[in-house]
C-alpha cells in the first residue's frame, strides 16, 4: 500500500522515467570531478579542511539541488485526496519518497566511487588522496539531507501543496546551504555526533506528523467567513478599483525610461521561466566556472588545478539549461519578435556570464601575481610546472614558457663555463615523440651556479628582465651546508629589488577557451534546435539531448582516465596547448590580435549556424 | 421592428431577413419611407456577419423595395415597385402549396382553411 503511494508520489512519477539516467549522470559527474581532484598531485599540499570542502561540494551538489524541484512541494496528487487515506499517511509517504530518492542517488554515487577507487588501488596501484576521507563524508551528507528534507517538509503541514512563495524559496536556499555547513561540521567531529541531526530530524518529523490534519486542504484556509478575498481572485475588485489599477499600470508603463527590451528580458528570465529556478543556480555557476577557467583559483590557493579541463563541463552546463529556456518561446514564437533578438537574449547571457567570470579572474590573478614571484625554485610542485615532486629543487614557471620538441629530441641546457645537462622531457602521450620540456631544468648533479643560471634565464623569459646569474647567486640564492640550494624567501628579495616587475608573454588564452566552449556549445545547440521540429517526437528529442550530454561527459572524464593511467597527463597536455598558443602568436602575422580573429570567425560561424536552426524550429503547444 | 434569424433554418440567413422585412412592410409594421437600421447595426444586433445583411439589403434594393441614400441611411421605398400581374400570383403558389399540404396532413377540410384565411385578413387590416 505504502509502496504504491511511493510510486505515485509526484516527484517519483515525474522523474521516474529519467531516474536511471539522472542517477548515472550524477554519479559519473561527481566521480569524475572528485577523481580529477584527487589525481592532481597538488592536492596533497592543501589543508585537510580544504580537501574536505573540495570533496563535499560536488557530492552535495549532486543531491541537494533536487530539493528545488517543483514536485518536492507537491505532497500528493489531488486525486489521492479523494481516496480514503489520512493526510498523515500521505505526508509520510511523500517524505519517504524524497528520502529514498536522495539517498538512492547518494548510495549509487558512493558505490561508483568506491568501485573506482578500488580499481585504482588494486589494479593501478595509485592511491588517490580522498578515498577514506570521502567515503566517510557519505554518512554526514546522508544525515544532513535527512534533516534538510524534514525541515523543508515541515512547512504548511495542512496543505496538499506547499505554496512556493519567495519566502519559501529563500528558506529552501538557506536550509540547503546550511546543510553543507552541517556536513563539514559533522565531518570534522567524531563519528557518533551524526546521531544528533538524526534525532533532531526524528523529533521534528514527529511534530510535523502530529500537526498534519486528517485531510489536506487544497487552498489556503480562509481565516473567517465573509472576510476579504485575496486580491487576485476574479470578481474581487469593483469596476472603479479596476479602472484605478489600469491607471497605475499605464503610469508604470510610461515611467522611468525602462525600455521594452528590459521588460522582455525580465519576462523571459523571470516570470515566464518561473518553473525553473535554475537561473538563480546556474548563472552564478557560470561566473564561477569563468573564474576557474581563468586560472584564478590555481594562483590564489597555490594549487595546481586543471584549467582547460573545465571547458567541456562548461559547455555541458550551458547546454543543460537550453530546454528550460525554450518554454517561453511557445508564446513568443507567435508574436512579432525578431528571431535574431530572441536568440541573442536566450544564448548570450550564459556565455557572457562565463566571460565575465573569466575577466574577473584575470583581474584578480594579476593582483596576486604582482606580489609573488612567478619563478620558483623548489622541490614540491604547487601551481607552476613541472608538477612532479623531485628530490632536488626544480625551476618552476608558468606553463606557457615551456617548449615543444616535435621530434622528441632536445638540446642539452648549456652554460658559459661548459657545464651542460640534458633537459627533462615529458611526452605528450605514452609512446609519442612529441614532448614538452623545460629549458630551465636543474638535474641532480648541477651546481648552484647552474641553478642560478637557469633561474636568471627563467626570469628573463617570464619577466623580460635580464638579471645576471652572478647576481642571482649572490643576492637571491642561499646555499646550505649540505649543498641544498633554495631561493631566499621564495624570491621576495628579487621582487623588492625590481618593483613593477610584470610578466611578459601572457598568452591570449581567452579567445581559444571561448572558441572551444562556445563552439562546442553552439554546435550542440544547433543539433538540439534541429530536433525541435514537429516531425521529431518528444522521445526522439530527449534521445538527441541525452546523447549529446553523454558524449560531453565522456570527453570530460577522458582526461581523468588518461591522467590516472599515465597515458596522457592532463598538466602536460595543458602545457602543450599553451605553448602552442604562444608559438601561434609569434608565428601569425599580426600576433595576438590575429589569434583573436582566427578564433572569433569559427565562433561566429557556429553562432550563425545555431541561429539558422533556431529560425526553423516548430514549437507546438504542450511540448517543451 | 424586431428581426430574428435562425442560423440553422433551411432558408439562408439573408433570405430570412429579406422575408421578414417584406412581411413587415406588407403587414404595415414598417411604413414606406421609414428608416431601416444600417447593415452594420443590424449585424451587431442579430449577431451575424455584416456581409450577410448587406447581401439581403442589396437584394431588396435590387427588387426596388428599399433604397440607400448616401450619408443618410437605408429607407423603405416610398413607392413600392409594381409587380407584374403574372408574377404576383406565381409568388403565392409555393406558400399556398405548403399551406394546403399542411392542412391535408392535419386533416383540416378546405372550408376551414378558407375561414382561417378570412380571420387572418381581418387581423392584418387592424
Amino acid at each position: 500500500m505504502m509502496l504504491s503511494l511511493l510510486r505515485r508520489d509526484p516527484l517519483i512519477s515525474s522523474q521516474s522515467q529519467k531516474l536511471g539516467v539522472i542517477l548515472v549522470l550524477n554519479a559519473l559527474v561527481v566521480a569524475g570531478f572528485v577523481t580529477m581532484l584527487s589525481a592532481s598531485p597538488g592536492t596533497k599540499t592543501i589543508g585537510s579542511f580544504a580537501r574536505l570542502l573540495l570533496g563535499a561540494i560536488p557530492i552535495w551538489l549532486s543531491i541537494f539541488p533536487l530539493l528545488f524541484n517543483g514536485k518536492v512541494a507537491e505532497r500528493c496528487l489531488p486525486f489521492d485526496m479523494a481516496l480514503p487515506l489520512s493526510a498523515r499517511r500521505l505526508w509520510l509517504a511523500h517524505v519517504a519518497a524524497l528520502l529514498l530518492f536522495g539517498l538512492a542517488l547518494l548510495a549509487l554515487t558512493g558505490g561508483i566511487l568506491h568501485l573506482l577507487f578500488w580499481f585504482l588501488n588494486e589494479r593501478l596501484r595509485r592511491a588517490p588522496v580522498f578515498p577514506a576521507a570521502w567515503i566517510s563524508l557519505i554518512i554526514p551528507i546522508a544525515a544532513s539531507y535527512i534533516l534538510a528534507v524534514v525541515i523543508l517538509q515541515g512547512a504548511s503541514p495542512s496543505q496538499c501543496r506547499i505554496p512556493r512563495t519567495r519566502k519559501y524559496i529563500f528558506f529552501s536556499v538557506l536550509v540547503v546551504c546550511g546543510a553543507l555547513g552541517l556536513v563539514l561540521v559533522l565531518a570534522v567531529l567524531p563519528g557518533w555526533v551524526v546521531i544528533v541531526p538524526l534525532v533532531l530530524a526524528f523529533m521534528l518529523a514527529r511534530r510535523t506528523y502530529r500537526s498534519v490534519p486528517p485531510i489536506f486542504a487544497l487552498v489556503p484556509f480562509q481565516a473567517q467567513e465573509g472576510g476579504p478575498l485575496p486580491a487576485d481572485q476574479p470578481g474581487a475588485a469593483t469596476l472603479t478599483e479596476q479602472a484605478a489599477d489600469w491607471q497605475d499600470e499605464a503610469a508604470a508603463r510610461d515611467r522611468g525610461g525602462i525600455g521594452f527590451s528590459w521588460f522582455l528580458v525580465r519576462l523571459l528570465y523571470g516570470k515566464m521561466a518561473m518553473k525553473s529556478y535554475a537561473y538563480f543556480f546556474f548563472y552564478p555557476l557560470f561566473i564561477l566556472l569563468g573564474i576557474a577557467l581563468s586560472g584564478f583559483m590555481s594562483v590564489w590557493i597555490d594549487l595546481e588545478l586543471p584549467q582547460l579541463a573545465w571547458l567541456f563541463l562548461t559547455a555541458y552546463l550551458l547546454l543543460s539549461i537550453l530546454p528550460a529556456q525554450m518554454a517561453p518561446l511557445q508564446l513568443l514564437a507567435l508574436l512579432p519578435v525578431s528571431f535574431r533578438r530572441l536568440f541573442a537574449y536566450l544564448m548570450l547571457p550564459g556565455i557572457l556570464a562565463v566571460a565575465l567570470g573569466y575577466g574577473t579572474g584575470v583581474a584578480g590573478k594579476s593582483v596576486i601575481q604582482s606580489s609573488r614571484l612567478m619563478v620558483r625554485f623548489q622541490k614540491e610542485s604547487t601551481s607552476l610546472l613541472p608538477t612532479y615532486a623531485s628530490k632536488f629543487p626544480q625551476v618552476r614557471v608558468p606553463a606557457q614558457y615551456f617548449e615543444i620538441a616535435w621530434d622528441g629530441r632536445v638540446p642539452d641546457n648549456t652554460s658559459p663555463w661548459g657545464e651542460s645537462h640534458p633537459a627533462r622531457l615529458d611526452p605528450l602521450y605514452a609512446g609519442s615523440r612529441i614532448a614538452v620540456y623545460t629549458p630551465f631544468s636543474t638535474p641532480k648533479d648541477s651546481t648552484p651556479q647552474f641553478a642560478a643560471l637557469q633561474i636568471s634565464r627563467a626570469i628573463e623569459a617570464v619577466y623580460g628582465r635580464s638579471v645576471s646569474y652572478q647576481q642571482v647567486l649572490d643576492r637571491y640564492l642561499e646555499v646550505a651546508d649540505n649543498a641544498g640550494v633554495a631561493l631566499k624567501n621564495g624570491g621576495t628579495p628579487l621582487l623588492l629589488d625590481y618593483p613593477g616587475l610584470a610578466p611578459v608573454g601572457e598568452i591570449p588564452l581567452f579567445p581559444v577557451i571561448m572558441l572551444i566552449i562556445g563552439g562546442t556549445w553552439l554546435l550542440m545547440a544547433a543539433i538540439y534546435l534541429r530536433a525541435c521540429r514537429a516531425t521529431v517526437t518528444d522521445a526522439g528529442r530527449k534521445v538527441v539531448y541525452l546523447g549529446m550530454l553523454a558524449v560531453v561527459l565522456l570527453v570530460n572524464i577522458a582526461p581523468v582516465v588518461t591522467t590516472i593511467t599515465n597515458f596522457a597527463r592532463l598538466e602536460v597536455v595543458e602545457a602543450f596547448v599553451r605553448v602552442l598558443i604562444r608559438y601561434a602568436v609569434v608565428a601569425l602575422p599580426g600576433g595576438a590580435p590575429m589569434l583573436w580573429l582566427v578564433c572569433a570567425l569559427p565562433l561566429l560561424g557556429a553562432y550563425w549556424l545555431a541561429q539558422a536552426q533556431f529560425q526553423r524550429i516548430e514549437l507546438l503547444p504542450g511540448r517543451p | 421592428m424586431q428581426l430574428h434569424v435562425n442560423p440553422s433554418d433551411e432558408l439562408p440567413i439573408y433570405r430570412q431577413i429579406m422575408r421578414q422585412i417584406i412581411d413587415a412592410v406588407a403587414g404595415g409594421r414598417i411604413a414606406p419611407g421609414e428608416q431601416l437600421p444600417s447593415h452594420r447595426d443590424l449585424a451587431e444586433q442579430l449577431v451575424i456577419a455584416p456581409l450577410t445583411v448587406k447581401k439581403a439589403y442589396d437584394e431588396l434594393e435590387r427588387q426596388g423595395l428599399i433604397a440607400t441614400q448616401r450619408g443618410r441611411g437605408t429607407f423603405v421605398s416610398a413607392q413600392l415597385p409594381a409587380v407584374k400581374p403574372e408574377q404576383r400570383l406565381e409568388r403565392l403558389r409555393d406558400p399556398a402549396q405548403r399551406l394546403l399540404s399542411q392542412a391535408a396532413l392535419s386533416g383540416v377540410p378546405f372550408e376551414e382553411v378558407l375561414d382561417l384565411l378570412q380571420e387572418i385578413r381581418k387581423g392584418m387590416a387592424q
Partner: protein
C-alpha cells in the same frame, strides 16, 4: 488582393502519414471563411502553417503575398491569432500580457484596447493561472485584435466556452468586421456560430479539400436525398450519378448529398435514376458535415 493563399500544401508529422495532402484555397480581403473538419483532419495544422508555426513540406502558403516563415516578422505584425490550445504563461499578470503585446505591435490601438478591457471587465493584476477559461480566452482575443490585424486566424476560439462566452466572442468578432473589414479564417465545431459568421465554408477531410462553397450556395444548391433501402443496386446507381457527393447506408434508408437544387434533384431521381419515392430537401450545415465526413462510411 489575396490575403491568404494555400497552394497544394502538404505536411506530415511522421514519415508516411501526411496530415495535409495538397490543400489549395485562398481568401480575398474581407472574406469570412469557416474551416470545418473532424478532429485530426488537418484544420489546426493548416492554420499553423498560415501562422508560420510550422513549415509546409510541399507547396506553399502565402499571407499578404509573403512567406510566413521567412517574413515572419512582417506577417505576424498584421495577423491576429487565437487558438483553443494557446499557451499564455501562467505566472504573468493580465497587465503584463497586454503590455507585452502592446510593445510588439506598432499598430496597437489603445482606444480599442480600453474598450475591450472594460467590456470584458479585466483587472491588470490578476494572474493568468487564476482566470477562468473564458476570461483567459478573452485576454487572448484582446491581444489578437487590439492591433487591428488585417487577418484573423481563429483555431476553435470558442472551444470549451459556455454559450454566453461564445456569444460574446462572436459579437466582438462582428464588431471588428464592421469596423475594419478584417479577413477571418476560423475553425469551429459550433455550426450555429459558423452559420452566423461565415460567408464561405471550406471542409477538410483526411487532409484533402472536400468542399469550398459559399454558405448560401450550400443552402440553396445542395440537396439531401433520403431514399428507402431497396433490394436493387440503388446505392451504386446513386453513387455514380453526376452531382452526387456522398452516399451513406443508414440501415432503413440511404442518405445522399447532391450538388443541385431540390427541385432538379427530385426530377433527376424520378426520371434518370428511376427512384420514385426519394425525399429531397435542403440540408443544414451540421447534417452536411455528418454526411460528408462523419460516422461510419
Amino acid at each position: 488582393m489575396r490575403v491568404l493563399e494555400f497552394n497544394d500544401v502538404h505536411r506530415a508529422y511522421q514519415r508516411g502519414s501526411e496530415v495535409l495532402r495538397g490543400i489549395t484555397f485562398s481568401l480575398e480581403a474581407g472574406e469570412v471563411v469557416g474551416l470545418l473538419g473532424k478532429n485530426g483532419a488537418g484544420k489546426t495544422t493548416l492554420i499553423r502553417v498560415a501562422m508560420g508555426m510550422i513549415e509546409a513540406q510541399k507547396g506553399s502558403a502565402k499571407v499578404f503575398g509573403l512567406d510566413p516563415r521567412t517574413d515572419a516578422l512582417e506577417v505576424k505584425r498584421r495577423v491576429g491569432y487565437v487558438s483553443e490550445d494557446q499557451v499564455l504563461p501562467e505566472f504573468l499578470s493580465v497587465g503584463e500580457v497586454i503590455r507585452l503585446h502592446r510593445g510588439l505591435f506598432p499598430t496597437w490601438d489603445e482606444n480599442l484596447e480600453r474598450r475591450l478591457r472594460e467590456q470584458f471587465a479585466l483587472s491588470p493584476k490578476s494572474k493568468i493561472k487564476s482566470l477562468s477559461k473564458g476570461q483567459a480566452r478573452q485576454v487572448a482575443l484582446l491581444c489578437a485584435v487590439a492591433h487591428r490585424p488585417e487577418l484573423l486566424l481563429l483555431d476553435e476560439p470558442a472551444g470549451g466556452l459556455d454559450p454566453s462566452a461564445r456569444r460574446e466572442f462572436l459579437e466582438t468578432s462582428i464588431q471588428l468586421l464592421n469596423e475594419a473589414g478584417t479577413t477571418i479564417l476560423f475553425s469551429s465545431h459550433h455550426m450555429t456560430d459558423v452559420e452566423r459568421m461565415a460567408g464561405r465554408i471550406v471542409m477538410i477531410h483526411e487532409g484533402r479539400l472536400l468542399l469550398d462553397n459559399t454558405l448560401d450556395d450550400l443552402r440553396e444548391k445542395y440537396t439531401l436525398v433520403l431514399v428507402p433501402s431497396g433490394s436493387d443496386d440503388r446505392h451504386a446507381r446513386l453513387k455514380s450519378a453526376t452531382g452526387c457527393l456522398s452516399v451513406r447506408d443508414q440501415g432503413e434508408a440511404l442518405h445522399a448529398i447532391f450538388s443541385m437544387e431540390p427541385e432538379r434533384c427530385r426530377s433527376v431521381m424520378e426520371r434518370d435514376l428511376g427512384i420514385p419515392n426519394a425525399y429531397c430537401t435542403p440540408i443544414a450545415l451540421e447534417d452536411m458535415f455528418i454526411e460528408l465526413v462523419g460516422g461510419r462510411s
